[in-house]
Each structure stands twice: as C-alpha cells, then as structure tokens.
C-alpha cells in the first residue's frame, strides 16, 4: 500500500479513538515539552552568562592576589597585599599583548548628599577603565592622568547611586557629594549596565582616581586587583602568560616559588560557568528523556491492544491481498503517527511553557531549533522502536486464524 494511504488510514484509526490516542500521546507530549523547556532554560541561561561576560569585555584579564603561604592560616585572596603600582607600571611598559590596564583600589563606605545617603563601593581606577570594563558616559567627562597624579577629589557615579542620593530630575554633574566625610566633585555619570550574571548591580558604583582612593580613603599602597584588556580575544592567553612572567619578575619570585597572584581570562570564567550549566542541562534532558521512554512504552502497550482488537480486520486485509509488510507498515505508521503527533503537540506545549517561564519568572530562555529537530526525530524513532514489535506481531498472524478470531 502506498505511504500516503497508510498515513490516511492511521489518522482515521486514531480519530476513531480520540481520547485513547490523546492519552497515549500524553507521555510523549510531556516528554517532548519537558525536553524543549529544559533545553530552552539551559540555553537561555548559558547565553545570558556569555553575553553578560562578553559585555564585561571578552578580552578582559583580571589579576588578583593569591595567597601561597604554605602552612599556617590561609587568608582570603582579596586581603592578600601583593599588587602595587610598580606592577601596573611594569605591565604597562613591558607587555606587548595588552591594550589597556587599570589598577583597582576598592573601599566601601557611605555616599552622602544633603539629607540622603547610600552605602556603596568606591573604586579607585585609572582612566583606561572605561575601555576595559566597556563603560560609557551618560553625561560629563572622565578624569585624566592629571587628576590621577594630583589625587583629585573627583568621581563618576553609577545610576543606582544617583537614584538614591539625588532628587529625581536633578543633574548630578558639577555637584558635590561626600564619601566617608571626604567631599568629591561629581564630574560624570555612567550609563546603566544593569545586573551582571551573578545578580550584582553593576550600577551601584562610584569611580574615582586610584590615587585618590589609596591616599585619601583606604590609606593603602596595595590594590585589590588589576584589570587589563588584551589587544584581541585571541591574545587573551598569550597576554595571560606574559603578565605572569612580568609579575614574577617584579615580585622577585624564585624559580621554585609559586605565583602569589592569579591571572584570570574571561574565557576561563565562561568555561567554568558553562560547565555548570551544561551539566544541569544534561541532567534535565536525561530526566526528560526518561519520560519519553515511558511515553514510548505507553505506545507499545496501546499498539498491542490495537492489534488484538483488530485481529479480524488484519485477517480480512490479508485474505484480500495484504502482505505481511503491508500490515507491518500499517501498524508501524500508526505508532509513528501517534508519537509524531504527540511530538508536535509537545513542541507547541514546550515552546509555550518556555515563553511562560520567560514571561512570568523572568528567566532567560532560548528555544533552539536543534532541540525541536532532535526531539522530533527522537519521537519518530520512539514510534518506530516501540511500534515495531506489535506491528511485527500483527504481520505474522495467520490469516485463517485471524479471520476466525472473535
């Protein structure tokens, strides 16, 4: 029998038992919908991690102090003091792979303006920070090397700080705020960047020349970290090695001594985060796959029932000329039609569920074509795999016995 006729025949057989067909499909529907939703959530969070990291600069390199004291109490990396302005100068002069570099001297405190105040972090940086962090000015100007040299009391504010210490509509540029009693002139406003991948508000920030923060607030000659940009993303790895070499010299480390700092590239970070989210996606997909398997067993069960129920029909078809393969194809296509229809409904449900999740929970989702195509083929395969044995049983029936079956 021709394929088109077989498909018509199986569709008709299914419409005769609508409820049964739907219940049989349910396992497949749930399985496919789960696969699509899980994968869209997984892909969505992965993409949002990647985009927010590359928003931070995909060629970003971060140098943090690292405690390598063997034995004794180890302290947190950020409280280790090993990075100084000499390191920054050495890197700026010697490196060939870096395009921009800035130290970061960080201190937390209270921003006060009139009767309003806001706890935040002040970051002492070099002018290059705008390029490195992909920051841009909404208003005003950035400080230059002169302000750095003179430890000028100037700062730029992020949107969150402005929202909390200025009246709505007030122009912050040119005004004076106090940070821990020290007055700063606001010379610029940063464009909002929103939350980063880790849920930190990137706009809750005050930036000032690093000399100002070191000399007037923290009274420390050390930096919490140094950030730099490689000339391109591809140069991140050689830049990282180059930095290690230069810093080992400036820190006068012996050959047998470990680094007292760590250089992190953005790619490392992306890989680490992706590994976690990939594992989660795999796990969820496996669970969804199990429900597909259960759906397939449901199909097998109902196909056995269907074959038994229609023994007499099979006998008749055989007596008027249906070959074993015709009967096999009839039932196999019926199973595939069930699983593929279930798959189509599942894809629709899965896409809807992803959209609902994205809309109501605000989770990032990304529906990939691959997940749709894969689940579709898995469905068809499920139909063939679980439909084959009942169909084969039908095709092996003896027409004489089948005709006599009541």
């Amino acid at each position: 029998m021709k394929l088109l006729n077989l498909i018509k025949l199986s569709l008709r057989a299914l419409t005769r038992n609508k409820l049964r067909a739907l219940l049989t499909m349910l396992g497949i529907i749930i399985g496919v919908a789960a696969v699509i939703t899980m994968m869209s959530i997984g892909k969505g969070s992965q993409q949002s991690i990647e985009s927010s990291l590359s928003n931070m600069g995909s060629n970003l390199l971060t140098i943090v102090p690292y405690n390598n004291v063997a034995g004794g109490a180890r302290v947190q990396g950020s409280s280790v003091q090993s990075l100084t302005i000499e390191d920054v100068n050495a890197l700026a002069q010697q490196s060939t792979h870096l395009s921009a570099i800035s130290p970061i001297a960080q201190s937390s405190g209270q921003v006060i303006k009139g009767s309003l105040n806001w706890p935040t972090t002040i970051q002492g940086v070099a002018p290059d920070i705008l390029d490195i962090r992909k920051l841009s000015l909404k208003d005003g100007t950035m400080f230059g090397d002169d302000e750095v040299r003179s430890s000028a009391k100037v700062c730029l504010l992020g949107q969150t700080v402005i929202d909390n210490v200025f009246e709505p509509g007030e122009n912050p540029v040119g005004q004076t705020i106090r940070f821990n009693k020290i007055p700063f002139e606001v010379i610029g406003v940063l464009n909002p960047k929103g939350q980063n991948t880790f849920g930190q508000d990137q706009d809750d920030i005050v930036i000032a020349p690093y000399t100002t923060v070191q000399n007037r607030i923290s009274a420390s000659q050390y930096f919490q970290n140094i950030v730099a940009s490689a000339k391109s993303e591809a140069e991140s790895d050689p830049a990282s090695e180059e930095i290690s070499g230069i810093l080992r010299q400036t820190h006068r480390l012996r050959r047998d001594q470990d680094n007292d700092f760590t250089v992190r590239t953005q790619a490392d970070l992306i890989n680490t985060l992706n590994a976690t989210s990939n594992m989660l996606t795999t796990l969820l997909t496996v669970i969804a796959g199990i429900s597909l398997l259960i759906g397939g067993i449901g199909i097998m069960n109902i196909m056995y029932v269907s074959v038994t129920e229609r023994t007499k029909e099979i006998g008749l078809r055989m007596s008027i000329g249906a070959r074993g393969i015709d009967i096999l194809m009839q039932f196999l296509i019926e199973a595939v039609v069930i699983s593929v229809s279930g798959g189509i409904i599942g894809v629709v449900v899965g896409i809807s569920a992803s959209l609902i999740v994205a809309h109501t929970l605000g989770w990032p989702t990304l529906i990939s074509e691959a997940s749709i195509v894969i689940s579709f083929f898995v469905c068809a395969l499920t139909g063939v795999f679980f439909g084959y044995y009942p169909a084969q049983k039908a095709s092996m029936l003896d027409p004489i016995e089948a005709l006599r079956y009541e």
Binding site: M1, K2, N5, R16, K312, E313, L316, R317, M318, S319, I320, G321, A322, R323, G324, I325, D326, P399, I400, L403
Partner: protein, 251 residues
C-alpha cells in the same frame, strides 16, 4: 471446451494435533472451468473449511497439486500468496467482514489499495462500477451499520468483484441471511455468473442454495463423494418472486 480455472489433483491436507495426525483432506481431485457456478457441500467435519482455505490460497496442501489459473500454489511463498489472492480471488464471507465506520465505497476500494498498479482515480472509478453492478451505487457513502444484512453482503460481493478476479469464492455467504435476502444474493450471484461470465465457487451446507448452481461437489470425511452437474438450475429471481410478499420489507 472452455479454459480450466482450477485443477485439483489428489489434494491432501494433514494437520498435526499433538502427537496425532489428522487427515482433513485425503485426496480430492476436481477441475473447475471458466464460467462455472459450482457449490461445494458437506456437513461439518467433511473437510469443507480446509478445502475452502486451500481454494482461497490461505493455506497450502500437504500433498497433491492445486493449480489456479495456471499457477501451482505450492510454489508460492507467503507474500506471493497474498499477491495471488489479491489478483485471482474475490472472497465473500458469511459475516460480511466489512470494515466498521468505513464507507461502502472505501470498503470496496480496499483490495485495490493493495494493488499498487491501480491509481487512486482508477480505484474510485472501479469501486463505483463494482457497487453499481450490485445495485448499491446510490449507497456508496453509507457506513456498514447504516446498511441491512443483505446490503452489507452486496457491498462485500462488490469488494470481491473489484479486482476482477478469476474466481469468486463464497463461504456460506447466505448463512447469516433470511430466505428472501438469501435468494436476492443468489439471484445476484446468478446474474454475475450468466451476464458477466464470472466463475463462482460457493461453499454451503444448504441444499436449496446448491440448487441455484450448475454443479455440486459433495465432500464427506475428507473425500469427494459426489460431483453432479445440475440439469435443472433453479432461477433465483423466479424463486424470489414466488415467495409470499411481506409488507414490512422493501429492498
């Protein structure tokens, strides 16, 4: 002398039941010529059903030979047998065996679906033609449950005709019908036999049905005991007319 449709020579069929061998057919020989209307009679246990299965190419003989339209059935495998049934034989069953919730036309089209040489438009045309020859062309869209027993059997006959087989094989085709409807079916069979020159082999245990055929073969205990030409074939249309009229039935 006209062409032989089937030749059966010393046909045997044994079944092994447990440790015993049951000889259902013990060597039966007869020929059927083109255009014959033959009935096969016999009580239960006579080997009638076994004979029917072999005639219908649903089963193969254990011994002897069965040649249908020049082909020895013994040499055919399962798929070839199916194809052979599709091309050479039109089955009519006692219980009609129409597909439920499927229109009369689609039921008639069914054998052609298994014949890939027939296009869908040709299939429809031939099915309508077959329905027309059993005078049910106006009921083509009806489901089996919307048809009377006689009408259902006529749809089944149309289904048997549609592939233009060399032989129509009927198995107690009037067994489920009342006398009047049985005569209608027999009248249709006679018409197909005389006007369309169809070869018909009709298995029955009712002697009055056998009286409408031109030849009767009787089986007993797996052997052919009688093979007689019927000199005075009863006309089913006349027999039908002579039945007392009933008011509650109108075909």
């Amino acid at each position: 002398m006209s062409k032989k449709i089937l030749e059966m020579h010393d046909l045997k069929r044994d079944f092994i039941v447990g440790s015993e061998t049951v000889h259902a057919l013990k060597g039966v020989s007869f020929d059927v010529e083109e255009g014959e209307f033959m009935t096969i009679m016999g009580s239960s246990g006579s080997g009638k059903t076994t004979m029917l299965n072999i005639l219908g190419c649903l089963d193969k003989p254990s011994g002897g030979s069965y040649i249908l339209d020049g082909t020895d059935v013994k040499n055919l495998n399962r798929d070839e047998l199916a194809r052979f049934r599709n091309h050479k034989i039109g089955f009519v069953f006692q219980s009609y065996n129409l597909l439920a919730r499927t229109t009369a036309l689609e039921n008639v089209e069914l054998p052609l679906l298994y014949n890939s040489a027939v296009s869908s438009s040709e299939r429809r045309e031939r099915a309508m033609h077959a329905l027309d020859s059993v005078k049910l062309a106006d009921r083509y869209g009806h489901m089996p449950n919307q048809l009377s027993g006689g009408q259902q059997q006529r749809v089944a006959i149309a289904r048997a005709l549609v592939n233009e087989p060399v032989m129509i094989l009927a198995d107690e085709a009037t067994g489920n019908l009342d006398t009047r409807t049985s005569y209608e079916i027999m009248s249709l069979m006679q018409e197909l036999n005389t006007k369309q020159k169809k070869t018909i082999v009709f298995v029955t245990h009712e002697p009055d049905i056998a009286a409408f055929s031109s030849r009767t073969v009787t089986l007993r205990d797996g052997l052919l005991v009688k093979d007689v030409k019927n000199e005075h074939v009863k006309n089913a249309a006349e027999a039908l007319a002579s039945l007392p009229q009933t008011e509650d039935y109108h075909s």
